[in-house]
């Protein structure tokens, strides 16, 4: 009988011992799994950060290049064309009926057109208003230009005048380019007559809503072309998010939210 009882002490000790052993194994296994997961997540986060930095570098170098080309066009080509215009101005035909008069007149018109085009391209590449007067002024200038061209009627409602002054230049450039892309898309594809740009501020977040009265599109069929990718890239770099709201026959609307950095 005594021997049988001793076996049960061993059985109890065995059960308790194996419970501790199995429990320790499970705890160590779980700890290890969670550690691996955490390391993987940190790696993924670093990878995403790195990609974002690369993207930012690409966009910055793109803007620098655009600025350089814009300035060169304005300073070199624009100046040369203006000189050419002056030179032709000095050429005075003998009379109004002189055939050369027509050629002079035509040449002046062509040069004027080229000067206008070069100025337009130069402005588009690097809008001076953006660097000197800020985002609001640059958007107003763009809207005014498009309205004058008759391609589209853009209405700008700016309820965030003060907070827009606090935006950094890179963020201003990014938001400007995004709006520029949206306007171009509206002109090229939407067949719209009107568009609205509304800028508002809630706490430290700037909310920009762009909408048009064009033909819209099925939200599930939004083709992510170069334009949309450009928009997404620029907004990702400045940590802004966007929501597209569109449907066939119901226009196109996009809401962009940009939170100003704490400092």
């Amino acid at each position: 009988m005594q021997n049988v009882d001793n076996i049960y002490i061993l059985v109890i000790l065995g059960m308790v011992g194996s419970f501790l052993m199995v429990g320790s194994f499970i705890l160590l296994y779980v700890r290890n799994q969670n550690k691996i997961l955490k390391q993987r997540q940190q790696l993924q986060f670093k990878e995403i950060e790195h990609q974002r930095e690369l993207l930012q570098a690409i966009i910055e170098s793109q803007e620098t290049e655009r600025k350089r080309i814009g300035q060169d066009l304005h300073d070199d080509v624009g100046t040369a064309l203006s000189s050419l215009r002056l030179t032709i101005e000095m050429f005075k035909p003998a009379s109004e009926e002189d055939n050369n008069n027509k050629h002079v007149k035509l040449s002046k018109e062509i040069i004027d057109k080229v000067i206008r085009d070069v100025r337009y391209i130069s402005h588009n590449l690097s809008p001076p208003a953006l660097s000197y007067y800020g985002l609001a002024a640059a958007i107003e200038e763009k809207a005014s230009f498009i309205n004058n061209s008759g391609q589209l009627t853009i209405t700008l409602v700016n309820d965030a005048e003060d907070i827009l002054k606090d935006i950094s230049l890179p963020a201003s450039v990014a938001l400007y380019r995004v709006l520029e892309e949206l306007i171009n898309n509206t002109i090229k594809h939407a067949g719209a007559t009107q568009s609205l740009i509304k800028i508002a501020a809630v706490d430290n977040t700037i909310s920009i809503t762009y909408s048009d009265n064009g033909k819209g599109m099925d939200a599930s069929c939004i083709i992510v072309g170069m334009g949309m990718q450009n928009i997404e890239s620029r907004l990702t770099v400045i940590n802004a998010d966007y929501i597209i709201d569109t449907a066939a026959g119901q226009g196109f609307k996009v809401n962009i939210n940009y939170a100003l950095p704490a400092n």
């Binding site: 009988m1 049988v4 009882d5 076996i7 049960y8 059985v11 109890i12 065995g14 059960m15 308790v16 194996s18 419970f19 052993m21 199995v22 429990g23 499970i26 296994y29 779980v30 799994q33 969670n34 997961l37 993987r40």
Partner: protein
């Protein structure tokens, strides 16, 4: 000692309600493996109730354990069959068939109906420990996107590992209990039933986390 007797005879068997209630509350989220486990617990609860009733009338229930082992193994193998990939499908079916045959041979020719099925019970425990370890190896090789605690299946599998790993000593030596004193029986079964309670609580956690 009376308290311990109530603990092992009534409290622990009734604790099966804990995972069952949680499973019923989360029933619409339960995937197929969890549903198998739910019906296994229902079967187990019924078997426990029959065992308790017969024991209270001093009727020997060791034969019941022989039958219960077959169904227990079938349910748990079915559970792991769904969890593992299709390679294991025919192996597991084969194992259920072979194990059933072994249980029948054991009952009629080796350990008669008045003894616990220690051979087949221990074999069953070893195989189920093997299933659990295989699952952990599979999980280790798979890239996870959520923490370990978020997966309901993880909780279920470790409950099997704890119950059958710790209960192995009990399955091996349960026939010795038949010759021991009442107090020794109660003490040993109390320890084993506490492990059963841990199993039920881990099942409950598994059902709770099944949505993820």
């Amino acid at each position: 000692m009376d308290y311990l007797y109530i603990y092992i005879s009534y409290v622990i068997p009734l604790c099966i309600i804990i995972p069952l209630i949680i499973a019923l509350v989360r029933y619409r989220f339960l995937t197929f493996p969890f549903k198998i486990l739910f019906w296994f617990l229902v079967f187990s609860g019924i078997a426990n109730a029959i065992n308790t009733t017969l024991s209270s009338h001093h009727i020997t229930t060791t034969t019941l354990f022989h039958v219960y082992t077959i169904f227990e193994f079938a349910f748990i193998t079915w559970f792991f069959n769904i969890v593992f990939d299709k390679r294991w499908h025919y192996i597991m079916i084969g194992m259920v068939v072979i194990f059933t045959i072994l249980c029948v041979i054991n009952f009629f020719f080796v350990q008669n109906g008045v003894e616990f099925d220690t051979y087949t019970g221990t074999l069953e425990a070893v195989i189920i420990i093997g299933y659990a370890i295989l699952y952990l190896i599979k999980e280790n090789d798979t890239e996870q996107n959520v923490t370990w605690e978020q997966s309901g299946l993880n909780w279920i599998v470790i409950s099997f590992l704890i119950y059958y790993g710790c209960g192995l000593f009990m399955f091996i030596s349960s026939n010795y209990l038949l010759h021991a004193t009442r107090s020794v029986n109660i003490i040993v079964w109390s320890v084993f039933d506490t492990i059963t309670l841990v199993e039920y609580l881990l099942f409950a956690m598994g059902f709770y986390k099944c949505k993820t």
